[in-house]
Chain length 404, copies 2
């Protein structure tokens, strides 16, 4: 017990992995506010305010827009388990680790899963979804917006349109996109979008923002069988978040303090400005990585501005480089997931972590680590390319009026 009894001694890290991202001091301070009851009128107000701010983030008018009391994967499970009944046909786009996860979960909930696959690092061609739906009806299509294993940004609108034409519901995994790139739930016509708190929103992990269309609500209301999960049953969760205020679970109070504050920061910056920041800085990062000789996995037209996945050069040792970054610079980047383990690095620029200083830092220390491994380019090539890219695109100066 000796160690466990010691003071918490957590180093300060610069978080440039696939999430969590760094958390703003205002959000950390919110997390330290004394807890009140989950049915306290003051807390119920906070829940309403959080719903309003989440609607802003998801660009939606959906009434049911709230935070599931679990991490992003709980959001995924909530989306699927509420819509799926045993035997339902579900079409899943699989072009990475999280597409696999969607497929695995849908199977566990009793769906007849058909997979529409693409190689890791490519998008799912919307035509393939359309053809699959035309071939055999599906109740539900599930796809990942920003695939956290590959950095691919999937076009959603044409898939949503195909779903409408064929009477299927659409579930979108926006875990690595919300808060960093547009997630226009209503404009897409998505039925459920879910996300997490610790990436584009720069809040600690632990909650899963979710928004649910009226169409999806109608489907859950006409289920023949109860939802397999009691904890994630949206009709019960909604009775607590909605005007009924019927106790379901004890809300994670502290996390909701933090989420509200993180969403306020998103609102203060404005969505357009925030998206521009992520776009501009990820472009600079990409320019730098390419100048260092690290090719980007995703095709140019389909890159998530939140997460850049680059191939590790031949002969360079993945773990040694990441260990050096962490131990010498307190800098975290992510390794490859699943099939890409050891082959790529995943570098996130999300929320508070997405700033110019971090772009220059990661390129600079990565160069040092690569040189040590015998991989060298022209001195300072990464940083110089990034600076050039930054100079060519000015930062956002306008003010987003979306909600004012």
């Amino acid at each position: 017990m000796e160690t466990s009894r010691g003071d918490l001694n957590i180093p300060f890290r610069t978080l440039l992995g696939p999430g969590p991202s760094n958390v703003h001091p205002r959000v950390l301070r919110a997390a330290g506010i004394p807890v009140i009851g989950h049915l306290d009128p003051k807390f119920l107000e906070l829940m309403d305010e959080t719903m309003e701010l989440l609607r802003f983030a998801f660009q939606t008018r959906n009434t049911i827009t709230l935070a599931i009391p679990g991490t992003g994967s709980a959001g995924m499970e909530a989306a699927l388990v509420n819509l799926i009944e045993p035997g339902d046909g579900v079409l899943v786009g699989v072009n990475g680790y999280f597409g696999e996860r969607l497929s695995e979960m849908a199977l566990r909930h009793g769906a007849e899963v058909r997979r529409v696959e693409a190689p890791w690092g490519q998008i799912i061609e919307p035509d393939l979804i359309e053809r699959a739906l035309a071939g055999r009806r599906a109740k539900l299509v599930a796809v990942v917006h920003a695939e956290t294993s590959t950095g691919v940004l999937q076009p959603i609108k044409p898939i949503a349109d195909a779903c409408r034409r064929h009477g299927a519901l659409l579930v979108v995994d926006a875990v690595t996109s919300l808060g960093g790139t547009p997630v226009p739930a209503d404009d897409w016509g998505a039925d459920i979008c879910f996300s997490c708190t610790q990436k584009g929103l720069s809040c600690p992990p632990g909650l899963a923002p979710i928004t649910v269309s009226d169409r999806a609500v109608a489907v859950t209301n006409s289920r023949r069988s109860p939802v397999q999960s009691w904890y994630l049953d949206l009709s019960l969760i909604t009775r607590y978040w909605g005007s009924d205020r019927v106790y379901h679970h004890t809300a994670p109070i502290t996390m909701l303090y933090a989420l509200r504050e993180a969403l306020r920061l998103v609102h203060e910056e404005g969505l357009e400005a925030r998206w521009h920041r992520h776009h501009r800085l990820s472009n600079a990062l990409i320019a730098g990585l390419e100048a260092l000789g690290l090719p980007i996995l995703a095709p140019k037209a389909h890159r998530a501005p939140t997460l850049t996945v680059a191939r590790i050069p031949e002969g360079v040792k993945d773990i040694e480089v990441r260990k050096a970054l962490l131990s010498e610079h307190n800098l975290e980047i992510g390794g490859g997931l699943g099939a890409l383990k050891g082959q790529v690095w995943r570098i996130g620029l999300m929320g508070e972590s997405c700033n110019q200083a971090n772009v220059l830092l990661v390129l600079s220390v990565l160069e040092t680590a690569l040189v040590r491994q015998g991989w060298r380019r022209e001195k300072g090539a990464g940083v110089l390319a990034a600076l050039e890219a930054l100079a060519s695109t000015p930062p956002h100066t306008g003010h987003d009026r979306h909600m004012s």
Copy 2:
């Protein structure tokens, strides 16, 4: 958006409801520590330390003793969904709201549920469980230790013994007992005990401590069908918490900082001292409530020291009293749940909330509110009876050597 854009403005409340309880400043401070990655070696150390501290709290040697990434109800669902396969016979003790919840969840997971019932406010007679098991085999028995709707403390040992005799597994809901009264998982021979963070442990809500016996692990390992929930699949969660360190979900980092600190406080106080404190102060509260003419629902021999449930006197308006306590004294107590709505108050003395000042405060303001409703006893009767009870039982002076 006007309100949502404002600063967080949370009043300071004294939390004497059924949970959350007040959180120690050290725990709040831990929640404000900057986030690091969920696979950072420093965070993995913290997970190990948290497991060790949780084993201490559950008085167990079970390897699988960890925190489920959801609230107490997620712990309940994790316990049931991992052990139950469709068609399994499950015996549930139902003598309150949370027994009902166990039963409802087990049904959703496909169990053939048999209920062993007792009136709300009474224990489940262990003999009834024994007879039910003798009559027809069950794979699993599930009971609530401290029933949060009634304040009844259920004897667990004889039920555990009956389970052993009849080859059934035992799941114990220790949500309102852990950290306030003994939960000796190993001595009982319980197969899964789960709890929450926001009651006896005085941590914010959001995690569900759980401990799993080797016997239960063996059962989950020999399942014929996959666990219906991916998010709560213990074998996947264990691969992350165990030495494999395989990514499953992104751990709720901030909540784990807080939980480790809350558990350290439990360890510093010592279990015996902590139990004694809860026992002594709840006895004083009970003496005071009885002197005010509020009968206690649970029989004397079976009262949870964490939560006292008292009948509201005839003619006294439940909601008016609770509103007065909250708005005039920032003091929260709980109303009745389910069948007891409007008939009882639930007064918690848990963790940091369990102190002498709070006992005197709640009795004093309750008297004022009752007098306003036309219900009067001898002036100061409640506080005086409590002080007398406190004088008759000295506080714990020893030091718990259990783990040192």
